[in-house]
Subunit: 303 residues, 4 copies
């Protein structure tokens, strides 16, 4: 398979989709990102990395980080986490309070905001520094010592973070946060504000394609746990469009409102696409298109 | 009408209901209130006050204060308030986030917690000191200079106030709070922590029975506004049991989880009952029984 | 009070509101009713009837009939009905399935469609002919032997009645219908299709203003039951605008999508207004305006 | 791989789970099925069939049929179906009206009852005989000419089918059924009442493992469509436990309240397990256990 040629062709094919969708505007720091950009990177389990377009332009990782915090918590405590968060698709917007109230403070899954706050809370308890643990993991896996949070984005998240504060206080009222609400939110906002580019994210996601092995060859978690992470990504990773993403792309994936999406082809490679314009579900329009074409061309969906 | 005899007889009749229901236990300071207490007071528009049982025992006024903050805001700005809060019965628990999300941050009515937070926010904007304005109004109307918040209850509310903090942050995320979330919550928690007894509350409610005239004879708001306040109390004043309360009692009323309920018989008198044990909707069991008997005996429901 | 002059003045004042709102169009037979019509009638407890505008033009009574079926069932079985239907305001559209499912087949109140189907089911069990019992009651109270269902409207209701059929089957699945679903629906559709004019409806509603006495002076139900009917009308009678109606009009009332509204001033009179153009809650725009003016002018709200 | 030995070992391991869960009791005909039974069959793409336990005992296929009706409609009309039904996980019970109302009559996916009614309606329009088309397909794929509906179960479904009737009428009220409600329900109830055994169901499901090829080698639909069917099964096939099923089993699957579950390992085989006792989500307790063990032992999840 000539990956480079394939990525270049896909980048060319999705060009007509640039400009469709809408850049996230809930915080000024994101709203300023110019549309019309597109990048795609592929990292193979053998260690090669291919990229096309703006694949080395850093962007705000946002909810894509939820994959890594979840992995860190599962590696540390395993299935104990599932007493505090479910693993069912949500069918509701990522920041809905409704479901959380109906389900008495147990978030539907770790990829909606409420669930991610619980995961960050767990990571904080385990490590004392949730953000630091996440950043160090990403630096190590991506091989990029400079990965860090964008302080302006973090500040902007905090200033416009009333919805997340409402979720966190509600979780606390249900006794489903162990740490101080403001501390959890601080780590969460910095986590969302991490900046990485497609190449870094594809490399950082490889441990899932390698069935649980880290970049340095050490086992991060078991093969079975890697599979289960993939299952959670497939059923819950793309907000309330998970069914559509499974139907069209057929890969475990996780998207963020910064426009990035990572996807895993178990045993082969990890992918990262980026295009800041989002569809109504909050997924990158060009990104989903590119992944759809990739699996159609290669026949490498999981199904 | 021999009010004293009537109140005494009702107090005797509701004795079997003491011990039914459950004292509010969401904060320790309330959970410690001994059950088995009952008081009832009646203040006539002519200025007489009658009482029976524990009618001079101060208790935590809690949501009953929402009548007075609403009145203060309506007196100051009139119908402008209704752009920020509805006046429809809620049909949901008083602290539900669900409805608030479905209705995009416009609380269903001013007597559910979310609505009361908006009212407190308005009062804060108007006066610079929402709690102080409320306390001064109550002192003047009740003729009791010592009325104040119980600092332990206020602190306890704050410490266990995650649900209200969630509501306030959600309102802020919908741009339906003008003041800082923490400042609004501080005034709200102190407001809930006010301590008064039945006699004071009955007197403080008289302005609604007097069609808008204050204790000193000055007009607080128009006759028409007094009627409208009564309408809001009748349809929304007793949490999600407003229909049942209208059916059984047939008076405008407002209850609190401290076990107090005020009620208005327009043109005649204001009533306050108190019994700390609550039914499942959060209304005093003995209090509703007493008001039911009062209107049955006198025939003075509004219908 | 010069009723005739008052009604004529109100009719003149509401003229600018004709044309606002939208004629019900869920069935063709209703959609054909010309807009721009308005009638108002007032029947005093002493037996006089006043009318203005199109007050003698028959229209489709629709949900206004729910007052009368409820009264018939309460007169026959009293509070036993409340085991099968609640009496809390709904806060949801009149034909919502959502609340019914959350509340396991117990409709929120007798004036939403699901609740009215339960009431019709009870009346069917009690009388063997729910529609006939209702029609005979209305003929007797209104003094108009010709009152009957419009067969075309009834047929049209049936043909477009899938939403009501869904509600009825859902109630049956919760074992909250005793009679055959199709039979209950047949009586319900004919009930909705009754045609009466404002004068007839005002007279037919007088038993509530007379505290339970029928047109022939016999007691229909107790004074207490009349008051309770009024309470249910005030809190639940105007769909999800009951709070607004109480605030503006301040009277027990019941509206229908044919554009009619009946209202009760206990001890004085019954009113009926009609204007086919509806607001978004399904209440007659001109009708609510007229009642608002009536209570403002007379000061006769219940509050 | 020694399939026979593997199946026998799994059957032995899941024995302790027999008796856990609860046989479906919403219709008498199902409630009478003795618990404690368990069967499992595996059909390879090469044409071999292996079975263990009660794998040749016919049972009521129920919702498992939804896989086949969906396949028939997609084969005939392709993506046009998705204008009338979604493909997102539901997160609600299979027969909920709530979601259907919020989403205006577009069922969340083709595997909840409302969605399956729409699929049956499409199949009826396409073939004139939805039940017959389904039965003939199953007979051909399973190679069993005797496959048919159990008339007693079909009658029982009809008699207790008010919830499905409510769904169908609601769909009709949203103009999302083309055929007569009673006709659609009749085909739907007979479809649910089909009786097959594990061996027949595993063979009938093979077309999905064969990437779209039927038993006779003809192409039923494209490789891409087979993958997409698998995606819908994985995300929506096991009621509101799809996330849990993906996590534990990691295969496209579809369950029914008769206790059967079919699952697909693309390119390898189709599986059918059966155990009549259900968990709270409506999936066979022993069946899910058996599939969990199968994928753990073989490592053949899709992830």
């Amino acid at each position: 398979m000539n990956y480079q040629q394939l990525l270049d062709e896909i980048a060319s094919e999705v060009r007509p989709f640039l400009g469709q969708g809408k850049v996230a505007d809930y915080i000024p720091a994101l709203a300023r990102v110019p549309g019309g950009q597109f990048g795609m990177a592929l990292a193979t389990v053998e260690g090669e990395v291919f990229g096309t377009g703006d694949w080395q332009t850093p962007f705000s990782v946002q909810s894509v980080t939820k994959v890594f915090t979840l992995a860190l918590v599962l590696a540390a405590e395993g299935d104990a986490l599932w007493r505090r968060v479910g693993r069912e698709p949500s069918g509701n917007p990522f920041n809905s309070l409704v479901q959380l109230e109906y389900e008495k403070g147990i978030p539907r899954n770790p990829f909606i905001n409420a669930g991610a706050l619980v995961v960050t809370d767990r990571l904080l308890t385990q490590t004392g520094d949730a953000f630091g643990a996440l950043r160090d993991f990403l630096r190590a896996e991506a091989g990029s010592a400079g990965i860090d949070a964008d302080p302006e984005v973090a500040r902007s998240e905090r200033e416009h973070g009333h919805r997340n504060a409402a979720l966190a206080h509600f979780l606390a009222s249900c006794r489903n946060l162990e740490n101080d609400v403001d501390v959890v939110l601080d780590h969460y906002f910095r986590q969302c504000a991490l900046r990485m580019h497609c190449g870094e994210l594809a490399r950082a996601t490889l441990f899932l394609a390698r069935h649980g092995l880290r970049a340095d060859g050490r086992r991060f978690f078991s093969r079975s746990e890697a599979k289960r992470m993939n299952a959670v990504m497939l059923t819950c990773g793309t907000y309330d469009a998970a069914g559509d993403f499974a139907y069209r792309v057929g890969l475990p994936g996780k998207s963020g409102v910064g426009g990035g999406i990572v996807a895993v082809i178990p045993g082969r490679c990890a992918l990262c696409v980026w295009g800041p314009e989002l569809d109504r579900s909050g997924n990158s329009v060009a990104g989903v298109e590119a992944l759809d074409r990739f699996t159609t061309r290669t026949g490498w969906s999981v199904f």
